[in-house]
Assembly symmetry: C2
Homo-oligomer: 340 residues x 2
Amino acid sequence: MKIAGFDIGGANTDLAVIDFEKGEIKNIEVDFAYLPMWSNNDDLSHVLIELIENICHLSEIDAVGISMTAELVDAYDTKKEGVLDVVKKCEEAFSCPIAYVGIDGMMTKSEIEKNPLKAAAANWIATAQIATLISDNCIFIDTGSTTTDIIPIKEGRECAIGKSDFDRSATGELVYTGTLRTNLASFLDKVELNGKSYRVASELFAQTADVYMVLDLIDEKDYICDTFDGEGKSKLDCAKRIARVVCADLEMLSMDDVTEMCEYIHQKQVEQIAGGLKQVCETQGLNLIVTTGLGKDILDKKAAELLGLEVKSMGDILTDDECTVAPAVGTAVMMEKFLN
Amino acid sequence: MKIAGFDIGGANTDLAVIDFEKGEIKNIEVDFAYLPMWSNNDDLSHVLIELIENICHLSEIDAVGISMTAELVDAYDTKKEGVLDVVKKCEEAFSCPIAYVGIDGMMTKSEIEKNPLKAAAANWIATAQIATLISDNCIFIDTGSTTTDIIPIKEGRECAIGKSDFDRSATGELVYTGTLRTNLASFLDKVELNGKSYRVASELFAQTADVYMVLDLIDEKDYICDTFDGEGKSKLDCAKRIARVVCADLEMLSMDDVTEMCEYIHQKQVEQIAGGLKQVCETQGLNLIVTTGLGKDILDKKAAELLGLEVKSMGDILTDDECTVAPAVGTAVMMEKFLN
């Protein structure tokens, strides 16, 4: 049985195609596409099909599972409108069985139509499936391109207190910060450089992908989103954007200066994530952390270590590429269980 | 003598046309245009002429003074490139005498070509001219659409420690926050609502203009920049964008909830500005504040009061519309002095 799991985010759509044999995972193939849903959501059906066809023939797919967070983008007036539009476009794309990840488990199209909000931003429910393969009692942390999910698991079941993104932003279970697309101005008040403290410019000048390029923590192939200024993704291009965050340029700052700024910025983002992690740990009394996602080593491991917590990685059972799309992998796993 | 003073910012270009008689101001007329220089700088010459022609015939203008901050936009690789491009476009627009505000006073085109950075972000030098008409020893504070200048004046002369935007962001003399265009995510880590503390979404969801519309502190005619989602500027449209900042929508939050959020956000922006003001006050030992700009009553007065400082307003000698374009008024005043 070959099942496709999609995680349709605001900016990225991730896919895992999993071959199951008697309920066991035999093979996983993954891919992703940058699809800004605030402007290009009309391309969704097409992108879903194209992603599958990069891996196998569409007719080989027995079923499709979908999780989403794209309903929050500002192309939609309400989340309800967003969920229903995503569902409509998924149903248009496929003729095989489809179901959707909801906060209480998989949902059919007709179930979603009765209660759309249950399928809003529930992709972390899918990731929790994978985390339980590592430990039945842990907190898994998944830092993607844009957001960080911090989900407690007890006795093999997720036990998050917040069920919507709104609630989870209060409980620490959602920290809206990521490895690529996060505007530096959003988590920095000031940047320290050469012993001085500089306020940052509130503009769309540079994002976290620029910082991790300069620090050699990601490659240009990881930098899948658009740059803020429409220029290139080389270290020099990234450094130019980062200098602008303190109203400077590369005639005023050296590459060493920019690197010093980046180390400071990196630490501040680790602390931001550690803030959410600490809140969840204290609420739940859990202290084993399972990391996944693009930021698992760059950010999540460091945040856990900052708090003196024990750390394991989904990398023990998945490849790095699979960890990056863990919610899509989890969605395919949930779909297989739903069918059987 | 009729002199045009322009303040060419990243997003807005402001104009003051002043009639002088024997060095005295006889009449002031002002206007402004939203011109996003990161994308539309090719329109600059055209917009400059059009702004003047809304007030008088171009041939009536005896001279033009220019101040700028637009060189920082990411259409330019370096500030130097930005300054020289703005100068080129100004020279193309006018055949009368032109000079530019620099940190040491007015500069001609050929002087700027030798040292372009002296004309970068020097518009606050022009505003200082106006502040001295209120007091020879004060700190003037000008919160515009995007940024806040906090400039100390002693014995009738500005005595700012930082001379570039970069230096001023460390001294507190520039706080990159404003009344209209500031992304809420840039100065908020969390928002308090109904006794809970919600982390904010690092996206381009809502800006300060949305908050001040909901609080009835600005009118739709003041909201001159684009909305982040391309939708309307009504209070309802603004509230919808603000709800999204905590991953919610107007089916989850009431207008009362959004208003409560806005009051909290307003207070946080006052505190952000007060942070810069406190730093400048302590450095300079000055405690009379002179406010101007669109945010003079909404933000600056409240920031000064929070710190227990004495407050006067440029509104005592200028109209509110003139206060909003104070750097343009100051630029025309400097140009008149330069010619005589």
